[in-house]
């Protein structure tokens, strides 16, 4: 999932808001008990990997069918319409009702789902999918290739307001369609109702991931056409579950899709409750009113201390990074030595301790939680002397003053900003902290020459290094407004490596090129990579099948109830 404003308000809304309540209390509490609790939590998280916790729970048990899974979310979202859903709460729920051609296995490899087979032409410009026969929508009709064409055109149509629209602009004729010059996307073809052919304007390796996103899930074209905007209230898809009812802001229920024949779909009903905060949800979990909750730090500490509740905990490591960016177009960060000095001057290990185990240090642009990595990447070890020396070389013998922008509503960022402020004061840099709203990050951080430095974060959209390197640091993508490259980093070498990697259809060559690109970027130091978030989840002991997924994180359709 790619980050930014929407994510701020969306994907991590739940976890983040939950954390908001408790973090300051949990981490700044002066009482010895509190600190001991935090330490326990750190130790717990450090020694627990999700798989361990879950294997212990599931063992070799055979999943049981039936029962009602009760989920809880902090707040309502725009829609579970697959063209709209784009955050941590909605994607797993949208995936209950909507399935696509591709999916990911437990190692984050793309696998066919509703496609029986798929192929990419040697020039990388034509993607061809064969539909598995007998897959039906919840209302009974069989899924046809035309439904996929319809779904993709719907995402591309600006009137739909899909946040994923730009992912599909590589499709031939998408631009003309978007501008309303044609009423059909020429690159979407259906030689027969079992076959979907997608023609791209240029070779693309990453388009396969784009087709794995929920935006590309099939929707029943006749229902959507008939219902128009109100489809989002009467969602029908071909996924394992179907919507039973939904009360906005209150919650709803999903029941099993009787026509679904794929894996999972163990529980009969999935009830969703909305509202309240995470500490409250933790209590509801303990009383057995819900089955699963994303814990806030205070509850996490409480669960860690309790021998019984400790066994309910699990940690998920999403592919995410939070970083300190420096605007390379604005002094003093236009100076490479200054940027490197910042990298030496921030103590990430200390920072991680202050995050109470909810963030682990990270050194690359791409977090190592992605199944791709770069063993040769340069790493800056904390070294204040070196930092001061670099500042002196850069001509800042007495340091300088700067303003650090961060998102007020993200407690981990807020805490990180405070720790960075302390660290940098040690090397003579006086930092003013400016917390702003999620909405204001758009005009402040993403607009050219506005913020000299600040904190931002990114969650993967798909498990490919291009999703970090190309999206966040490619200089050719810089725009004056709404720019994802907040460092406004523009290195000819880096850009070229990215372009080469993007054009390459050879997996290992792409990987190598991206490794080189990452090393270039780290040497140029537009960022100080800070930490990768970790989520602490608690499950009711009766809930099974909770292993974290490397891309989807959690899949409710795989969960089942032991009693």
């Amino acid at each position: 999932m790619n980050t930014a404003i929407h994510k701020t308000g969306g994907w991590r809304r739940h976890g983040v808001e939950a954390i908001r309540l408790g973090l300051s209390r949990a981490t700044s509490g002066s009482c010895a008990k509190c600190i001991r609790g935090m330490l326990l939590l750190v130790i717990f998280i450090a020694t627990t990997s999700w798989v361990n916790a879950d294997q212990k729970a599931t063992g070799a048990e055979i999943p049981r069918r039936g029962g009602t899974l009760r989920l809880w979310f902090q707040s309502e979202w725009r829609s579970l319409d697959p063209a709209i859903a784009f955050d941590s709460a909605t994607i797993p729920l949208a995936r209950l009702m909507f399935s696509g051609l591709l999916d990911y296995d437990e190692q984050a490899n793309l696998i066919p789902a509703q496609a029986s087979e798929w192929s990419v032409s040697p020039d990388g410009k034509v993607y061809r999918f064969m539909l598995r026969p007998g897959i039906r929508f919840a209302h009974g009709r069989e899924v046809e290739a035309e439904d996929y064409v319809f779904a993709l055109e719907r995402v591309l149509n600006p009137k739909t307001g899909s946040p994923g629209q730009s992912y599909y602009s590589e499709i031939q004729g998408a631009l003309e369609f978007t501008r309303n010059e044609t009423n059909h996307v020429s690159g979407l073809r259906t030689p027969d109702s079992r076959t979907l052919e997608i023609h791209l304007t240029q070779p693309s390796f990453t388009f396969r991931y784009v087709m794995g996103m929920v935006f590309a899930a099939a929707v029943p074209r006749e229902l959507v056409s008939a219902q128009g905007d109100s489809f989002q209230y009467h969602l029908v898809g071909s996924g394992p579950y179907q919507l039973d009812f939904w009360r906005r802001g209150v919650g709803g229920r999903f029941k099993r899709n009787p026509h679904y024949t794929g894996p999972g779909a163990w529980v009969e009903d999935i009830v969703v409750m909305i509202g309240g905060d995470a500490a409250l949800a933790a209590m509801m979990l303990e009383r057995g009113e819900i089955d699963r909750v994303w814990l806030d730090p205070v509850s996490a500490v409480r669960f860690t201390r309790d021998p019984k509740l400790r066994t309910w905990l699990g940690v998920v490591d999403p592919v995410t990074t939070t970083y300190f960016f420096m605007n390379t177009e604005m002094p003093p960060f236009d100076n490479l030595r200054v940027r490197q000095a910042m990298n030496y001057g921030i103590d990430k290990k200390r920072l991680a301790r202050f995050l109470g185990g909810l963030g682990a240090p990270t050194d690359g642009v791409v977090p190592d939680t992605m199944p791709w990595n770069n063993p040769q990447k340069p790493i800056y070890e904390f070294n204040p002397e070196k930092s001061r020396a670099l500042l002196k070389e850069a001509g800042f013998t007495n340091g300088f003053k700067t303003t650090l922008w961060y998102e007020e509503t993200r407690p981990l960022e807020k805490r990180a900003a405070e720790v960075i402020q302390q660290d940098l004061s040690q090397i003579g840099i006086e930092v003013t902290l400016m917390g702003i709203s999620a909405a204001a990050t758009g005009t402040k951080l993403r607009t050219r020459r506005q913020a000299a430095c600040g904190l931002s974060y990114w969650y993967q959209d798909y498990p490919d290094p291009s999703n970090f390197l190309d999206v966040l640091l490619n200089g050719t993508r810089i725009t004056d407004e709404g720019c994802n490259n907040m460092a406004f980093y523009n290195s000819a070498l880096f850009n070229q490596l990215c372009a080469q990697a993007a054009a390459s259809l050879n997996g290992s060559e792409r990987s190598r090129l991206f490794q080189e690109a990452e090393s270039v970027a780290l040497r140029d130091a537009p960022w100080v990579p800070l930490f990768k978030e970790r989520y602490v989840i608690a499950h009711h002991p009766r809930l099974r099948g909770t292993q974290a997924h490397p891309v989807w994180l959690w899949q409710f359709q795989q969960m089942w109830l032991s009693q």
């Binding site: 790619n2 707040s75 309502e76 802001g249 209590m283 709203s437 999620a438 909405a439 993403r446």
Partner: protein, 306 residues
């Protein structure tokens, strides 16, 4: 009577207009690109443009204000940025929850406050009278959030007498209503006490006693209705506030009412919903005021003649 009603209505409309303009300006001068918040960071310029047009975000502020007021005049509160649901629908769908909570709370506290107020007025200086006074002072300064949490922790979480949170039936309303009732009962008991003491001292009470009316007739038929007349105004205001959303209590107990809607909309920067809930609160206050006014002439015959 008609003239008074007309004046009141005029005032109400002015109040609502003022509220509308003020909220609009307050929220819209806050920085931030709302269209991007709605559309997401990767939204193409076309999508952003479509969204700006849809929510009229591309117009100058004064034009948007005019449009907003025009919308309001037609009873249209716009669409939520987050859920795209019509705001009026969002509010109305949550009104039953808030209204049930409010009525249950009002019933609970009046049910307790009336006997307490009457008893303590009749038996001044007793230990109960003193305790009610102390309790009233204490509960007035009690934070709703804290009390709700405490009740929830002990009664639901520890003892399991009530569900912790959520709304799936009457039982889910009891503890939240109790929270509100506890916060209000002391104040109302004292209010009724004070009015009762005053009324019990009046000549018509002595006259009633002189006619041989029983003590309960004196208290409940003669004194109480008179003592409750001033309570109606305050009760009306409180009901209006409750309908506007019991922010803390609703949020603590995760009740899907107008209060949680308001809080969520602020977290999400959901401007139309923020404005909608504010307008609804203002409307509730204005309407309840009008109703109280009408009610007055019904419960207090003296007002009718004015």
């Amino acid at each position: 009577m008609i003239k008074r009603l007309f004046t009141r209505l005029l005032w109400s409309v002015t109040t609502l207009m003022g509220t509308a303009v003020l909220t609009f300006l307050l929220i819209n001068v806050a920085p931030g690109d709302v269209a991007r918040v709605i559309a997401g960071p990767k939204a193409s310029p076309d999508v952003i443009k479509a969204i700006r047009a849809r929510y009229h975000l591309d117009e100058p502020l004064w034009k948007r204000l005019g449009f907003h007021l025009g919308q309001l005049a037609r009873g249209d509160l716009g669409h939520s940025f987050v859920t795209d649901q019509p705001v009026s629908e969002a509010i109305l769908s949550r009104l039953p929850t808030t209204a049930s909570l409010a009525s249950l709370a009002v019933c609970l506290w009046m049910f307790l406050a009336v006997p307490l107020g009457v008893y303590t007025a009749r038996h001044q200086g007793t230990w109960l009278d003193r305790s009610v006074l102390v309790a009233a002072t204490l509960t007035l300064s009690l934070p709703a959030f804290w009390l709700a949490r405490m009740l929830q922790y002990w009664m639901s979480y520890k003892l399991g007498w009530f569900p912790v949170a959520g709304f799936r039936g009457f039982w889910h309303l009891v503890l939240p209503a109790l929270t509100i009732a506890i916060l209000a009962v002391g104040y109302y008991a004292r209010l009724i006490h004070t009015n009762m003491v005053q009324v019990l001292d009046s000549a018509f009470i002595r006259a009633a006693r002189a006619r041989g009316a029983s003590e309960s007739a004196v208290l409940f038929r003669h004194a109480l209705p008179n003592a409750l007349i001033p309570v109606v105004t305050i009760l009306g205001m409180d009901i209006a506030f409750l309908l506007g959303g019991v922010m803390f209590t609703e949020n603590v107990f995760a009740l899907p009412g107008i209060g949680t809607l308001a809080v969520q909309s602020v977290f999400n920067l959901d401007v139309p919903v923020i404005m909608g809930t504010v307008m609804f609160s203002a409307l509730a206050i204005v309407i309840v005021n009008l109703i109280v006014d009408m009610l007055y002439s019904w419960i207090d015959p003296r007002v009718r003649a004015v």
